[in-house]
């Protein structure tokens, strides 16, 4: 039966090709949008794993609201159950680009730099040490973009820093991080003794959720995000982003599906007499269904393959192009490929369902009378 299906597709080459292109376009959109979502997903998951053991303490007015100072760090440290606490200053590296490149300056107390960044490992050099002032540790993307090596000079806010450490690639926000001593950062950006947020590390036997609430109650003017709350919040934001990206891809694929349905309906109408003949010579309903659904599914499969190929090439080209700006925006994962292929097959089969049903329900006599 499969040879008949292929032959029917091949007999209407132009129409079949256009239909396959319709599906391919939809799957192309699924791949591109999905790859964007997958990239964000991976970055999100890795960032979560890197910071999952810490409670974030913010000023009540928010991360950009100010009001969080070194004194508050001491207050947080005094709360029972807090093993360690340190403030971090976070600001955008490229202020002229409004932070669009994702590069961040992270002011970290030098003695805490290894724990603050844990479990990120060094690719070369060392973390910041007490006494460091104009030394810097850079993420893997920063190293690549500015072609930095250990000992290189790196200009930040009109001051030159010496690169002492290069972080391993993590696929997280730390790949774009420029880590300098907290005090140097506070001087450089003239923020006094302000910090953006405080990392509080709970004792091993203390429940992070409980401690999070305790900090909020004990240290006035602060709000906290426990690891679980942060994850929920981040997942919600990620979900919204995914829904927007994926649904635009799915919408394109549905349009491709309608394209198949239209083609199959035309084909079934044109071949009414043929179906009559097949029924007259003994074709079962399932044979007709198989022929029509098989055709639609095959076009879905071909469209899926084509869409995945073209989408992957497009993603590769865009990533290569964006590599100049050191931004990785797309990530094709095996999961995405499987989903795209299944979606193409599903679209093909679903679109063929109604035309197949119509073909299978035709009265053979009526079909034979069809001109």
């Amino acid at each position: 039966m499969f040879d008949l299906i292929i032959r029917n597709i091949m007999n209407r080459k132009v129409r079949s090709a256009l239909t396959v292109c319709g599906i391919a376009l939809g799957i192309f959109a699924v791949i591109v949008m999905g790859a964007m979502s997958e990239n964000f997903h991976q970055t999100f998951e890795r960032s979560m794993s890197v910071t999952s053991d810490k409670i974030r303490v913010f000023a009540e007015s928010g991360v950009f609201g100010g009001g969080l100072t070194d004194e508050k760090v001491s207050d947080v440290l005094r709360v029972a159950g807090v093993k360690d606490a340190y403030g971090l200053l976070m600001t955008t590296f490229d202020e002229d680009k409004m932070g669009m490149t994702g590069k961040q300056i992270l002011g970290v107390p030098p003695e805490k730099s290894s724990v603050a960044l844990y479990p990120v490992e060094l690719k070369a050099g060392r973390f910041l040490n007490p006494g460091d002032s104009y030394n810097v540790v850079v993420g893997s993307n920063i190293k690549r973009e500015y072609q930095l090596e250990i000992g290189s000079k790196f200009e930040i806010h009109d001051k030159y820093f010496t690169v002492v450490g290069i972080l391993d690639y993590t696929g997280s926000i730390f790949d774009n991080a420029v880590i300098i001593p907290l005090e140097t950062a506070q001087d450089l950006y003239d923020v006094g003794n302000s910090v953006s947020y405080i990392f509080a590390v709970p004792d091993e036997r203390v429940d992070a959720e409980v401690l999070s609430k305790r900090i909020e109650l004990s240290v006035k003017g602060t709000s906290t995000l426990s690891p679980d709350e942060l994850e929920v919040q981040a997942r919600q934001s990620f979900m919204i982003f995914s829904v927007i990206t994926i649904s635009s891809g799915i919408l394109a694929a549905i349009i491709g599906g309608l394209c198949v349905m239209n083609t199959m309906l035309m084909s079934v109408t044109e071949r009414t007499r043929e179906f009559g003949i097949l029924k007259a010579i003994g074709a079962e309903t399932r044979d007709i269904l198989l022929l029509t659904l098989g055709e639609a599914s095959c076009m879905g499969f071909l469209g899926g393959i084509l869409g995945i190929l073209v989408g992957s090439v497009a993603v590769y080209i865009m990533n290569a192009w964006l590599a100049n700006t050191r931004i990785v925006l797309f990530l094709i994962t095996p999961r995405l490929l499987v989903i795209a292929m299944l979606f193409a097959l599903l679209i093909g089969a679903l679109s063929g369902l109604y035309p197949a049903y119509r073909a299978s329900k035709m009265s053979p006599m009526e079909a034979l009378k069809h001109a």
């Binding site: 039966m1 008949l4 032959r7 029917n8 007999n11 007499r273 043929e274 009559g276 003949i277 097949l278 029924k279 007259a280 010579i281 003994g282 074709a283 079962e284 309903t285 044979d287 009265s363 053979p364 006599m365 034979l368």
Partner: protein
């Protein structure tokens, strides 16, 4: 289209059926009865009007008969064939083919009956244009799930027997009308049916081709193949072992 008439004729009786059986000009009383049509009727409505396409048709057909069904256009010949062929549902009556009451066969099993018991030959050949002669003949065997090798062999043999051995890979558009009709005959024979139903099989061919098709029918009939031929052509009817005449949905002359 038959005249619109109110049904007033009585049902054909069993005696009449018996008479018809005796009248069979096949002459061989020993031959097996392959098909019995009993009081077969088809009525359909056109708006508020009831149209009797076929009324109480009774036919008995013996194995190997070549039976012509004649009548003017719209008299009900094709309806009779469609009812026997299970392409349409009868309003009343029975068709017993090879011991099976076709009118009581569930809808689901009808394709199997059409595949295994009935072979169709149409006026317009009705071959699948995208398939070769060989593939067209193989088609009904595909639906019977006959293994590829076996169905290819059988289709090739049938086409060779019908003189189309050198036309196996030709598409219908590359064949003459007569050749197409012979492919259609081969297709009808593929599953070794109990009866072949031919609807105006010579309607679109010249007299020479017509004669060759009739010759094929006669040869098949002599080998025991039962064939019902709907025709307008007296030359075709002349060659048949028996002729049924049908007018306004009623079998007049048997």
């Amino acid at each position: 289209m038959p005249e619109i008439r109110i049904e007033e004729n009585g049902l054909e009786t069993a005696e009449k059926l018996e008479k018809e059986l005796n009248k069979s000009n096949l002459g061989n009383k020993e031959q097996k009865i392959i098909m019995q049509v009993e009081n077969l009727s088809k009525t359909y409505s056109q708006g508020k009007i009831l149209v009797h396409a076929l009324r109480c048709a009774c036919i008995t057909v013996r194995k190997g008969e070549l039976l012509a069904i004649m009548g003017p256009s719209g008299s009900g010949k094709s309806t009779l064939l469609a009812l026997i062929g299970t392409l349409e549902k009868a309003t009343d009556g029975k068709v017993i083919l090879d011991g099976i009451d076709l009118t009581s066969v569930p809808e689901k099993l009808l394709p199997r009956v059409r595949r295994e018991k009935i072979g169709f030959i149409f006026q317009h050949y009705n071959l699948i244009p995208t398939l070769s002669a060989l593939e067209n003949v193989e088609l009904s065997m595909r639906f019977s799930r006959v293994p590829k090798k076996e169905r290819e062999e059988r289709a090739r043999k049938l086409l060779e027997e019908l003189g189309l051995g050198d036309r196996l890979s030709h598409k219908p558009s590359e064949l003459s009308g007569g050749e197409q009709q012979r492919v259609s005959i081969a297709r009808a024979l593929a599953n070794k049916p109990a009866v072949i139903l031919a609807d105006e099989p010579t309607g679109e061919v010249d007299s020479k081709t017509r004669d060759s098709i009739v010759r094929v029918f006669k040869e098949l009939s002599e080998k025991g193949q039962t064939i019902l031929v709907v025709t307008h052509d007296p030359e075709v009817a002349k060659e048949c072992s028996r002729v049924l005449r049908i007018t306004d949905g009623v079998i007049k002359d048997n």
